[in-house]
């Protein structure tokens, strides 16, 4: 059941209505039924995977707790629990790995084996990929680690734990929640609040705007450019790449807004997953703002453990002794590299994603290594760190880096991505501006579509600027006079209904006869 379907809209409206009609004490039961109902709509088989993960993680956490309670010493308990945690993580990541990456690995290994002319090949299999498996697996393992670390108590109610892993708004594209942030809110029955309902539905509407009016409209041009980049000039390829960066942000953050909005309409407040990532002034800063639930997960469960691991301390000592300045940073390089490689791979099975991980990790490592040199340059050139123009430059530079990086994940192959990047080295501004209209239309959108898309992106940008300044948009709107509020909300609703890309594309050519 897609978020962009009438069925889903009816479904979530019905859930919200039933939620408030159900007695407070049993509202979590309704959410569990709705969540499994939602999941079931994507198939019975995939639900078995979710149930399996739920059972394994629930059982594992209870087991760890039991070991901790009954062990003779803390050390012995920790040792046993470490084994349980590793087993649990192995099982869950194993499932994810097989379902998501097996074919990619098998295909590449077959290619490699073929080069040596061995008569052997790994079979490629038609595997199902359960809805949201990357999200609920990470959420489940994160929960297990927190139980192992003693940060949280293991959940005793299996059904309530099942709700934590299956809460329907987050099943499509996350975010990845911490148990402590989400579970208590799910268990608690929330009283009806008109403000929550209003703010929630407004956020859902804003999410639809981003998804349907921006992301899906940009998708036409993006598909066109990435599909046959060799027929476009450098400027057109660059436009396609920039539009893809905007598309993926509007698409993803739009979906998250819908998730948060639906939850908020039921009184459940979910933290945001994005904090104006394209306003980040460095690649590291960008990643602190983009898909924060995933990057925070990686930080807490991969980066920090690696940074403070015994071998990192050893490398640090060695580095300080042999490599001077760079040596001090050496313990951070390896965790950074591993973390970003994992982030790349998490996004999907393909060389493009691996290259994307490598691209980000190398940029961050190089920028860490070159920071002293950059600081020196800035000092010599008298560049004021806080100057507006300098900040703008940093933002544009970071955005450009991310535009190129994301091309690796969208192009059909790394080779194509590199060819596209190469094409953008030959920009003929004169020719482009002289024939701007035809150049833009050739990208795949008509005149009016460009106007609407540009206007929508500008609205998105303006809202982002206000948010960056700390303005809470919905609260600010709610303080406006009633007519202003209504015009804004109904205007947004009209924009989504009219300019949104949904339904079958209308083509006047199929209605020529009506003019007869």
């Amino acid at each position: 059941m897609s978020f962009i379907s009438a069925t889903f809209i009816v479904f979530f409206m019905a859930v919200i209505l039933l939620y408030y009609l159900t007695p407070l004490k049993y509202r979590w039961v309704l959410l569990l039924i709705a969540s499994y109902g939602f999941y079931l709509s994507s198939g019975v088989k995939v639900m078995l995977f979710l149930l399996f993960t739920t059972a394994v993680v629930y059982g594992g956490a209870r087991w760890m707790e039991s070991v901790r309670d009954h062990a003779k010493s803390k050390k012995a308990a920790k040792k046993t629990n470490k084994r349980i945690l590793l087993l649990e993580a192995l099982v869950n990541f194993g499932i994810l790995f097989v379902l998501k990456y097996y074919n990619f690995i098998a295909d590449n290994l077959n290619g490699l084996i073929g080069m040596f002319k061995y008569d052997f090949s790994m079979p490629l299999v038609n595997l199902i990929l359960p809805l949201g498996i990357s999200f609920y697996t990470f959420q489940a393992v994160g929960y297990s680690i927190d139980v192992y670390r003693g940060k949280i108590k293991a959940e005793t109610n299996f059904l309530q734990f099942a709700l934590f892993l299956s809460f329907f708004p987050q099943m499509t594209q996350g975010p990845i929640f911490r148990y402590g942030d989400l579970a208590p809110q799910l268990k608690e029955g929330h009283k009806f609040s008109l403000t929550n309902l209003k703010f929630g539905l407004e956020l859902v509407l804003w999410g639809y705007f981003k998804k349907l009016v921006i992301a899906d409209a940009a998708s036409t041009a993006v598909t066109n450019v990435f599909g046959r980049y060799d027929t476009f000039d450098g400027m057109q390829v660059l436009i396609g790449m920039v539009l893809y960066a905007i598309q993926i942000y509007a698409d993803f953050s739009g979906g998250i807004d819908m998730t948060r909005g639906i939850a908020q309409a039921m009184g459940i407040n979910l933290v945001d997953n994005f904090r104006q990532p394209y306003f980040g002034n460095s690649v590291a800063e960008y990643w602190r703002r983009w898909h924060m639930s995933m990057t925070n997960w990686m930080r807490d469960y991969v980066f920090f453990p690696l940074t403070f691991a015994h071998f990192s301390t050893k490398i640090g000592k060695w580095g300080r002794h042999h490599l001077k300045t760079i040596g001090k940073q050496l313990p951070a390089y390896i965790p950074t590299f591993v973390t970003f490689m994992l982030i790349g791979i998490w996004h999907g099975a393909g060389w493009g994603f691996i290259a994307f991980g490598l691209y980000n990790s190398l940029i961050i490592i190089f920028s860490m290594a070159l920071t002293p040199a950059f600081d020196k340059c800035k000092s010599v050139l008298h560049i004021p760190e806080e100057a507006f123009w300098w900040r703008c430059f940093q933002i544009i530079r970071t955005f450009a880096i991310m535009v190129y990086g994301k091309t690796l994940t969208r192009a059909a192959s790394v080779h194509d991505a590199l060819a596209m990047m190469k094409a953008t080295l030959h920009l003929d501004f004169g020719m482009f501006f002289a024939n701007m209209k035809s150049e833009l239309i050739a990208v795949g959108l008509h005149g009016r579509q460009w106007v609407v898309l540009t206007a929508a992106i500008l609205i998105f940008f303006t809202v982002s600027v206000f948010r960056e300044k700390g303005v809470h948009i919905r609260e600010a709107v709610s303080r406006k006079p009633l007519p202003v509020r209504w015009v804004l909300i109904l205007g947004l609703l009209t924009a989504v209904l009219v300019f949104g890309v949904y339904g079958e594309g209308y083509s006047s050519s199929s209605f020529i006869y009506r003019n007869y």
Binding site: R448, W486, E504, S507, S508
Partner: protein, 368 residues
């Protein structure tokens, strides 16, 4: 609820929410109207007819709204037979259009059904053939059934169209993207335009003159497809249940031999069921209307205004002889029809003048 009712502030909030919902609903209705294609004037106009004011309806494709001039038949014999014609209207929809018409006009005396569009093969069928009719129909189970039946027929005929029912049930899903295509400020008016001439279509083409080819007639028949037989039998079975006199019509045009063979097979099936068929595309009817193949057509398939005058004159005379119409009509109905008749005459005279032609009193023109 009681709590809300007793608290003044909550009552005010509830009222605001209610008004907002109403305003939003109004906006939705407006948008639905604005983006739906404005080419269903005939049915929109039909819905505005006073209840029980019509003597009959004439259902079909452009072979209806280009041929039958309701106001002329009204002027000559007082009969009020409305054109419910849309471009390429599929015969499968005729049953549902009769049902729709009977909701407000249960006392009609006659139902005329043109069967030309039955000759369309699967690859000639288009989404718009259905949506031109069903978009204009009011929301009801009859509309849903009409869509289902039409899609079922199109599927059996192998029409290359979208079979996603939601696009037909809720046409806004399909048409909202018109804003980027052929949408103009004039489309922003909230109400659909209604046919001013009781369903008869007047356009620049009405004054066009096309030198048409007279067909050579045949009595041969070809086998109809299973789907065509199925919908025809269903229509015939339904027509048998009606109190109205049902007459099938095949309006005159430059018909090909292949089409004629299929038409003959259809007519044979209809006649076997005991219904009258006025087949103007036959040797027997040749020359009865007095059409001039050189001056009375706008293209090979349709008559122009001159041809329509002759066609209406013949058919209305036939109906006057064969159907018993009641002469009573309210003053408001008479006024509506009189106004429509006058408006059509004015429009036609103007169009002929604009085209550099002069319209003689008997309907003949002087071609420059």
């Amino acid at each position: 609820m009681k709590e809300v009712w007793n608290n003044k502030q909550k009552r005010k909030k509830a009222a605001i929410v209610l008004v907002f919902i109403l305003v939003a609903a109004g906006l939705m209705v407006y948008l639905l109207n604005v983006f739906v294609l404005d080419d269903q004037k005939a049915l929109s106009g039909f819905y505005h007819q006073e209840e029980n004011s019509l003597d009959g309806i004439y259902i079909g494709s452009s072979a209806v709204y280009r041929y039958w001039i309701p106001t002329q038949a009204y002027d000559e014999y007082g009969m009020k037979i409305y054109d419910i014609g849309t471009g390429s209207e599929p015969v499968v929809l005729q049953k549902y259009l009769i049902k729709e018409a009977l909701k407000t006009q249960p006392n009609m005396k006659v139902v005329l059904l043109d069967i030309r569009s039955l000759l369309k093969s699967g690859d000639e069928l288009k989404e718009a053939d259905i949506s031109r009719v069903t978009d204009a129909m009011k929301m009801s189970s009859n509309r849903t059934e009409a869509i289902d039946a039409a899609l079922d027929y199109f599927k059996k005929e192998g029409a290359p169209i979208s079979y996603n029912k939601s696009y037909y049930y809720y046409p806004f899903l399909l048409y909202h993207s018109r804003w980027s295509d052929d949408f103009s400020p004039s489309d922003l008016k909230p109400f659909r335009s209604k046919s001013p001439y009781m369903g008869f279509e007047v356009s620049d083409m009405s004054t066009a003159v096309y030198k048409n080819t007279k067909p050579s007639y045949t009595e041969d028949q070809t086998k109809l497809s299973e789907a065509k037989i199925e919908i025809l039998e269903d229509l015939l079975a339904y027509c048998k249940t009606l109190d109205q006199k049902v007459i099938f019509v095949s309006a005159l045009y430059s018909i090909s031999q292949d089409d004629q063979k299929e038409l003959n097979a259809s007519i044979s099936l209809i006649r076997k069921s005991g219904f009258t068929v006025l087949d103007f595309n036959s040797k027997a009817m040749e020359g009865k209307i007095g059409l001039n193949w050189s001056t009375d057509f706008m293209d090979s398939n349709h008559v122009n205004y001159l041809g329509a005058v002759k066609y209406t004159s013949y058919l209305s005379s036939y109906l006057n002889k064969n159907v018993k119409f009641s002469s009573d009509a309210s003053d408001s109905v008479k006024e509506t029809w009189d106004k429509a008749a006058l408006k059509l005459k004015e429009s036609i005279v103007k169009r002929f003048a604009d085209a550099g032609l002069s319209l003689k009193h008997d309907g003949e023109t002087v071609i420059p």
